[in-house]
Amino acid sequence: MLETLQREFGDALQAAEEVGRELRLETAASRLVELARFCKDKRFNYPADVTAVDTGTELRVVYRLISLETGQHIVISVSLPRSGGRLPTLCGVYRGAEWPEREVYDLFGVRFDGHPDLRRILLTDDWQGHPLLK
């Protein structure tokens, strides 16, 4: 799978390594949807998680896609500025991305372009700020 991805996406993968069951990839926002769709076509059909990590210097949105056939994980990271970050939504690829993307928006302030219903989900609508930012 790693070779296939490298052949297909080449320079768009800023980093790619295999750690145990996980294929850890880094890509840019512009190629995210394409990469996710490619993974889904390769039977990585289970969207296990969408979340983000604020390291203090940058914000990383992390997608975990799992193949129910092989048990392999693909972990895609996209780096964003810590405020005002925007990403295309993956709702068109995985419908299960809708709620966790709302959560990432709610807690980290990342805006997902094309999301059908981008509102706060855990916090109240009048909450100020995004609490999981450092």
Partner: protein, 375 residues
């Protein structure tokens, strides 16, 4: 809900009525609000409103040391606290590269499976109760009480045991525990037969669950569903098999699936899973190796910088824990991936076109716990 029906009837058929179910409603099993869009009695839209129980668990994780955060995880899926514990310590142990003693792994499985039975018993109890079979509620809670007593004997606590530690479990089994656990394992299958006679074949119960609340397998996977909710749609996915942890690869048990995709299918999966859990516990107690139950872990836990994902098959599905370390004594990120969160995401699709009375059955059949949804 007679009021809703009457209101719906008095309006023109084209006009929709919004009906609030919850946040305080006995059959939402916690603080959940469903905004239902009704056309007469039929549901044409549903928006689950969550967050009422949000305690900022993931944020708390960033300001506690690794061992300190462990008891917090009990309060996520509080019907099966050991699953949360194990997912969390798994991630930390992966970061540390720590090997857990064999005996501790077996004891963790005993704890996990007892939790699974206890949780499924609550499911059977509340599901039956929601569908007006109160007797079954009392029976199932009676059996669950025996497990609670076992937990009390072992850990001192009945619900939030926190018995798992980074590197193993806190203490070995107390004397007499294995005998009592075996006795429970002998008794439970007989009691499950009793529930089957009382409930599974019951005409009313069948009418209210068979063919109701269809979740197509592809849709379930696409929405990130897991656990009995997905296996009730015939998808053979169980983390215990897909990515065996502790000692599951050495144990003989069946992954239960049911092809009907309806409320009955999900109920049947959980009923059969309890029997499989009994088999697992019996095997663990029989094969339990001698030795330590806790690996040597320093006073301060400082995993090297990196990230790890721990995942377990909780009674509700895949419970995941994603921990990121920068080498300090506290994690910089603890992400808690709760199965119920994803199951609530697909609920509006499952309710589409069903009547108001079916909401209780369909919601009950995905067996959510709001503690892990809201975190």
């Amino acid at each position: 809900m007679p009021l809703g029906n009457e209101m719906a009837r008095s309006l023109t058929p084209t006009e929709h009525v919004t009906l609030n179910m919850g946040p305080q409603h006995p059959s939402t099993h916690g603080v959940l609000r469903l905004k239902l869009e009704m056309e007469g009695e039929v549901i044409v839209g549903c928006e689950p409103v969550i967050g009422y129980l949000h305690r900022g668990m993931e944020k708390i994780g960033e300001s506690r040391t690794y061992p300190q955060f462990l008891p917090y995880t009990d309060r996520l899926d509080y019907l099966s606290s050991a699953s949360n514990n194990v997912a969390y310590v798994q991630a930390v142990e992966k970061l540390l590269g720590l090997e857990v003693p064999d005996r501790a792994k077996y004891l963790r499985v005993v704890l996990l499976e007892l939790n699974r039975i206890a949780s499924h018993l609550v499911f059977v109890a509340t599901f039956a109760n929601d569908l007006a079979a109160t007797t079954v509620f009392l029976y199932a809670i009676r059996e669950r009480e025996m497990i609670m007593d076992l937990f009390e004997m072992w850990a001192g606590a009945r619900l939030t045991q926190s018995w798992v530690r980074i590197g193993g479990v806190a203490k070995d089994l107390p004397g007499g525990f294995a005998e009592r656990a075996r006795e429970f394992c002998r008794l439970l299958p007989k009691r499950l037969d009793e529930y089957d006679r009382l409930l599974t074949g019951n005409r009313i119960f069948r009418v209210r669950t068979e063919g109701v609340g269809i979740l197509a397998p592809e849709m379930g996977v696409d929405y990130g569903c897991s656990g009995p909710t997905l296996r009730g749609s015939g998808v053979a996915f169980d983390v215990r098999r897909a990515e065996p942890y502790e000692v599951y690869e050495r144990l003989d048990f069946e992954m239960v699936t049911h092809p009907t995709c309806d409320c009955m299918g999900r109920y049947r999966v959980r009923m059969e899973e309890m029997r499989q859990s009994v088999r697992i516990i019996e095997q663990c107690l029989a094969e339990l190796p001698k030795g330590e139950v806790l690996a040597k872990v320093g006073r301060t836990v400082r995993p090297p910088a990196g990230e790890a994902y721990g995942r377990v098959e909780s009674p509700r599905g895949e419970f995941g824990c994603f921990v990121v370390s920068d080498g300090g004594p506290q994690p910089i990120r603890v992400r808690l991936r709760a199965p119920s969160f994803f199951h609530l995401g697909v609920l509006p699709q499952m309710l589409q076109g069903w009547k108001i009375g079916d909401v209780v059955a369909i919601l009950g059949s995905i067996d959510i716990v709001l503690g892990e949804v809201d975190r």
